[in-house]
């Protein structure tokens, strides 16, 4: 374009200064036109330069614009990422709090389940104890009381071989009055203060063998359990267990509670039934005597 312009100006100059031949314009007019064209050309040059500058400026602006756009985009993305990161942190915190709560609830559940089992066991124990003591005091007949004690030991404790001994306070001899799984005649008497049985009666302390397996062969002086039956501190006899139906790892809490209950309640039941039976016997003797003398 620039080259085309310059070519045009040269042609015009040539036409304004013809060296030979007749001139079409006068020289002054020609110079003016030439001048005008020159100015026009300069103006055009200027315009072109200006145009160039503008294009350059536009290009730079476009670049700037591009970079700004990119920065803006980056900024938006960054802030979005930051927002998401914040959200993620919050969610992670919430999640760990929930996990904590979950494990707390799980632990509580476990505690409740354990508590429930404990309560059930307690319930079972109380039912056994309630029925036993109720039964023990339901009769004043000595033999009936003995039968009830035996029943409790068989059914509620699960003993297969055992005996009930009563103490003769004068002779300090323990004599078997009832037994299960062993013939009564085969059971020897024991002296207070001798053997495991005699010592338990002397001290008034219950004896529990370390393991619950029956001794083989059966040794009457070496029982699994020996429970002195006491009214306050006075021992009236003892319950001696030699064998359980089922060998256990150890005696249960219920076993201990039942033995403990029997130590006291069996003693009072036996004692009062003996007193009652004796007073009945005396009464009938007296009545017989009265009848005899009033006839």
């Amino acid at each position: 374009m620039k080259q085309t312009m310059e070519k045009e100006i040269r042609n015009t100059e040539e036409r304004a200064h013809p060296d030979a031949g007749g001139s079409l314009l006068n020289p002054q007019k020609g110079a003016e036109i030439l001048n005008m064209l020159k100015r026009g050309a300069e103006f055009t040059h200027e315009l072109l330069r200006e145009n160039e500058k503008l294009r350059y400026a536009a290009a730079r602006l476009q670049e700037q614009n591009e970079s700004l756009r990119k920065r803006t985009e980056n900024a938006v993305a960054r802030s979005e990422i930051e927002g998401m990161e914040r959200k993620l942190r919050t969610l992670t915190e919430e999640n760990s709090k929930l996990l904590e709560r979950f494990s707390e609830v799980e632990k509580e559940n476990g505690d409740f389940a354990n508590k429930y089992v404990e309560i059930e066991q307690e319930n079972n124990m109380l039912a056994n104890l309630y029925i036993s003591s109720y039964q023990l005091h339901s009769s004043l007949d000595f033999n009936e009381v003995l039968r009830i004690i035996m029943e409790i030991i068989i059914n509620l404790i699960g003993a297969e071989q055992f005996a009930l001994f009563l103490l003769d306070e004068k002779t300090q001899i323990l004599k078997a009055v009832a037994s299960e799984g062993i013939d009564l005649e085969d059971i020897p008497s024991f002296t207070v203060g001798e053997t495991i049985i005699g010592n338990a009666v002397k001290s008034g302390e219950s004896y529990y063998s370390e393991d619950t397996a029956a001794k083989e062969p059966l040794d009457m002086a070496d029982p699994l359990v020996c429970i002195p039956m006491k009214i306050t501190e006075r021992v009236i006899g003892t319950i001696v267990v030699y064998k359980l139906f089922q060998q256990k790892d150890s005696f249960t809490k219920l076993d201990y509670e039942l033995f403990y209950m029997l130590a006291g309640h069996a003693a009072t039941a036996i004692f009062s039934s003996k007193l009652y039976t004796e007073s009945e016997r005396r009464l009938s003797t007296i009545q017989g005597f009265i009848e005899l003398i009033t006839k």
Binding site: E151, N155, F245
Partner: protein, 124 residues
């Protein structure tokens, strides 16, 4: 109302079983002190469940189950029967199941186990 019959010679065991089972809803409990009495009661009224001891005088638990299952005239011939055996007497328990018992519990009884076993057979 579900009717439960307890056949057991030990008054202590009867008391304990009644004490445990009466806690269930809508249950009426009847008792018999041996197998013969149990069969008599079963020939008279309707029952939904029977719990029977094994060691009893006259007719023991095994004989009781056998007689009941074979008595075509008894309206309770197919009533569910739970036998009560002593811990460690697995052979007796197996024999009882063979004769037609539906389940078993062992002595010394655990109240929770009694409740669970009874609930298998009646809605209570």
């Amino acid at each position: 109302m579900s009717r439960v019959l307890i056949v057991e010679d030990s008054p202590t065991m009867v008391q304990l079983l009644v004490f445990i089972i009466k806690k269930l809803r809508d249950v009426e409990i009847d008792t018999a002190n041996d197998g013969a009495n149990g069969l008599k009661k079963l020939s008279e009224g309707r029952y939904d469940l029977v719990l029977t001891d094994i060691n009893m005088p006259l007719i023991d638990g095994l004989k009781f189950v056998s007689l009941l299952r074979n008595d075509r005239s008894n309206g309770n011939r197919d009533v569910p029967v739970i036998i009560i055996t002593t811990e460690g007497e697995e052979s007796i328990m197996e024999e009882g199941m063979k004769l037609g018992a539906n389940s078993y519990i062992t002595k010394p009884v655990n109240s929770q186990r009694v409740i669970e076993t009874v609930r298998k057979f009646i809605n209570a």
